[in-house]
Amino acid sequence: MSAAWLLVPLYLVPLVSHNEVLLTILIFTYILGILAIGFNIVFGYAGQLTMFHGAAFGIGGYATFLILSKLGISFWLAMLPMFAVILLLSMLVGWVCFKFRLREFYFAVVTLAFAELIRLVVLNWNDVTNGTLGLLVLDKPTIWWPGRGLVKIDGTVPWYLLTLTVLCAVTVVSQLIVRSWIGRNFAAIRLNEELAQTLGINTFRYKMLAFTISNVFAALAGALFGFYSNYIEPAQLSITQSLDAIAMVLLGGMGSILGPVVGAFLLTGLPHVIEFSAELRAATYGAILILVILLMPRGVVGLFSRWRHVA
């Protein structure tokens, strides 16, 4: 049984409903769900409280778009060098943090510091990133469709299908990782790092791996986010972005594959369902977060232990 099967019925949603708002909320849910799944791997499974995924999310958008427009290649091809950039950055930051054995709160603060440094660079590198104004993304990803050649992915329904497919792929990959020996090593590190080390687990290497996976997923989500919303801005690298993903994971349920997606849905969807002004919407967001943390410490998925079994 795979958690990805639970996502398959969602392909039917566009057939049943043409409600633009609903589909848009779901698209954002899927994109942010990918980000949250990545964070769940490094925190929920390997126990490392990173604050870098927000920066990776933003870099994903910026790097993909800049590479695409400078080299004139397609969205999918541009993602390859972008992933190389993310890998390098993850290696650098991860190496510094893990080599000096920073843990818990200290790890969180140093990764946060690196994320802020990157945000400041993006914010002030005006020639390339256009500073605070951000970049308008007019290109769209294309796919090859039988009989019609290369088609641009534009409009709500195609994006719905694209993001859902990517989410399914990410779910399958993370499940493979988590269920393998890698996932068991992550759990060992989370539960007792010294013990894991004495058992012969190279904790440095596995922490690096978890950190890198999280950042790669975050960058993938960031690229999709930028190209779907047509707009990339420095706020996408902000601390708030990191914190949102953490909230989604905790809300949905830590340490389960689909928990983060449920959390992403609740935090993206609920403030829109209730029609409020922008200020009240932010307040609702905060209130939902507080209530869920205090009332459901194991997250929404934790309430359904049967689900936990499947996921």
Binding site: E104, F105, V109, V110, E116, L250, A282, A283, L294
Partner: protein, 286 residues
Amino acid sequence: MTQVILGQVLNGIIVGTLYGIIALGVTLTFGITGIVNFALGQFMMIGAYAAWHLTDVVHLPYPLSVALAVLIAGLAGFLSDRALFQFTRNNLVNGLLVSIGLISVIESGALLLYTATPKNMDFVLSGSWTLGAITISRMKVVTFAVLLAVIALTWLALANTWLGRATRAYAQNPEAAMLMGVKTEMLQVGVSVYSCALAGIGGALYAGIYSLEPSMGALFILKGVEAAILAGVGNLAGALVGGIILGITESIGALFLPTAFRDAYGLVFLVAILLFRPSGLFGGQK
């Protein structure tokens, strides 16, 4: 050039004490309740807006407004502790998330009440002192003196009173302190409220110098946490020194290197310190 540098150092010290007062709250809360209250920046904002409102709208004298603003921030801290933080004791991640939720709620409240337009308080203490070629505004000097006094008194109280000894004992060994008759629940509430009141006084004094925006809290909590870690979490006098070092690093950094990266210099310094002294500059508990 020496004078410019000296002026920047002075500015750094004054901003640094503001970081320091938040850092003191961060360190105290972390030592006693086991969480980092990221909403402390918002309590500072509450103090700042309360002082502005009482001075410019109600027309109370500024010192009285500051005192009332501290009370308001403390009261808000008490409410937040009873409603939220009493359930997140010693749970770092839940405390973090609850305080993030609280940030959204408080900031939206401030936006609804006072809109996003920056508020400038009328000068309560105008003019400046000149020392050689360095001029420094009087309000900044007063702010510095008051914050320094508050931090020094806190430090003295912790070193010399029964309550202070109880607090330090609890930070070192909660169970032993409990066995010695320390009322732990009251201590935790007290420290939580005191940290918010400290943030409140920082905010109330900030209102006399700079303009206010509902989003001002985010910057200060980050600097406060940086300063607390720089000094070594759990080190009270270090929190002030950490704040001042951070303030000076930023001012001097901004003088010689691009100003746009002002916030980055402190971070780079912090990362460097953590790598070579993982428990902060002055050791402290870890």
